[in-house]
Symmetry: C2
Subunit: 325 residues, 2 copies
């Protein structure tokens, strides 16, 4: 552009790169900017990346975007990235995008770093060995390969949910657990077991289900029709399962929360779309994405990226109440 528009060539780079401290006269700088605006000039990113060897682009590895939770993680990451002049490309693992087996190929960009959810474990193998800085989301804090981790205080969230139910007087509790072998769900199971185990006379039964409404319903039906006294509370590993659990209860002629209480996890839009609204543990999804991106940018800038832990919060709503009788 420059060569035509005004004065020089390298000068343009300096001006547009805000690196003209005392190297370019105010006059020429202004001229350059004017010309740039006039021509609608956009520096060629490919050339810049080639020259710099950095792309200012991060890869976000998530298990399918169609889960609102990860869509929100993306949103948070993208916001922070944009503020820092970075971009984010997505690698939705298996089910989502089909045959794009290679993350470095699926994203048509060279990458500076990777942010990965622990739930996309299978895709992680491919990412490892890329030699790129890696930030792990919601994973075991002693994750070794990661340059930094962003964690949610999942255990505390589950303690809050359990405490809420136990405080209401529930003693027979069933866990509708996600059939996903991942740190975050293992923590939920462990924290719930610990909380229930600490209360004399309280008992816990577990059913597992893939993360769909229908499977959640089936698992909840199993829990509610299991031989022996019926549980009075269903603790579900996420809101999707909880929605299924509510349907199960209703199918069995039970009212929520009068006959059985139900709790979820995540606080998706779904939680307030169902009736009664779900008591659930709110996970700050956007904050997770934002913190992940911030951590990655810090690592890339050789700043110390300390591990982050984000608090979570129980949101009591209509799906829980005292046990019957």
């Amino acid at each position: 552009m420059a060569r035509v528009a005004g004065v020089s060539q390298a000068t343009v780079s300096l001006v547009l790169g805000d690196k003209w401290a005392g190297r370019v006269s105010e006059r020429t700088a202004a001229a350059v900017r004017a010309a740039a605006r006039e021509l609608g000039y956009r520096p060629n990113l490919a050339a810049r990346s080639l020259r710099l060897g950095r792309t200012r682009t991060a890869l976000l590895v998530v298990p399918a975007l169609t889960t609102e939770f990860f869509a929100r993680v993306y949103t948070g990451a993208a916001r922070v990235a944009a503020e820092g002049g970075f971009g984010v490309v997505l690698y939705p693992s298996p089910e989502g995008v089909g045959p794009a087996r290679d993350p470095f190929d699926s994203a048509r960009a060279s990458l500076d770093g990777v942010i990965a959810s622990s739930m996309a474990a299978d895709a992680l193998a491919a990412v490892r060995g890329g030699g790129l800085p890696l930030v792990m989301l919601d994973s075991s804090p002693d994750e070794t390969a990661a340059a930094a981790t962003v964690n949610l205080d999942i255990a505390d969230g589950m303690r809050q949910a359990a405490g809420h139910l136990l405080g209401l007087g529930h003693r027979r509790i069933a866990h509708v657990a996600a059939a996903v072998d991942t740190w975050t769900f293992r923590v939920r199971a462990r924290a719930l077991a610990a909380a229930v185990g600490a209360v004399p006379g309280a008992s816990l039964h577990t059913e597992t289900a893939p993360l769909t409404v229908d499977e959640g319903r089936r698992a909840a039906e199993r829990a509610l029709t299991h031989p022996g006294p019926r549980p009075t509370a269903l603790v579900c590993d996420d809101d999707i399962l909880a929605a299924g659990a509510c349907k199960a209860a209703r199918r069995l002629g039970l009212r929520v929360p009068d006959d059985v209480s139900v709790t979820g996890f995540d606080d998706l839009a779904l939680a307030t779309a169902v009736d009664p609204e779900l008591t659930t543990v709110r996970l700050p999804a956007e904050a997770v994405g934002a913190a992940g991106m911030r951590a990655l940018m810090a690592v890339l800038a050789d700043e110390p990226a300390r591990d982050t832990s984000l608090p979570v919060e129980l949101v009591p709503r209509g799906s829980t109440g005292p046990p019957p009788r």
Copy 2:
């Protein structure tokens, strides 16, 4: 890489680019591939883009990903893109990602083309004038700026929904309409009015609401408490609004579908998460994204990209039934 690993340099390009028809010996080709695998060689995309002047990257402009519908559109587009060696970057307009006002900047990539939802109209202004091939999704078919359009037969969907209710005997119908001034919603209103108007004795009342559960509930409450005989069916512009409408009915002590029928639009996961499950019009979101990407790739290849229209389908479920008495 090549220079070190085996024989030459340009040869590598030919082999890895699958352009060695009768120009490279089978032996050397094999050698190159072996070396590439050994070194874990990845061609530098930035350099390739720079050389080629094309990036094999498309921009998808959507209004916020956190709507499951657009997450699915993205998934479909990404799948087709990956199959064709393309990439997709996202530009979620306003609310989603904050200050990334410039789509060409927000996506840290140079772009070959743009796929835009008509619902992201505000962002479109920025995209226009980029001089890039543009594919419009779910927009007015006589959209001029677009090189191709992918449409849903929204009008037919609404006719099916209206026909379903009218066939069940409903005559007092209320439209819970999206407060979004966009082609797709204007079509819904028009098609519904036409269908109801064609039946003697049938009447239509309209309330509008922003696309949230809560606003849907409020609008439905207004519709159900409006002076005069109560509507027996609520036709909602999407599933989110329909979920709100169900809550409204229940708050007013009305049963769904015994006292009032409710229909949605989209067939999100939400539609089967609520109880009763929503009768709704299924929009093939992934197919929209896929068709959009296919059309864009065709345009970029100078192939004739004819406009596409995708059929939609009513899915009758538990939220509709005959009117009371």
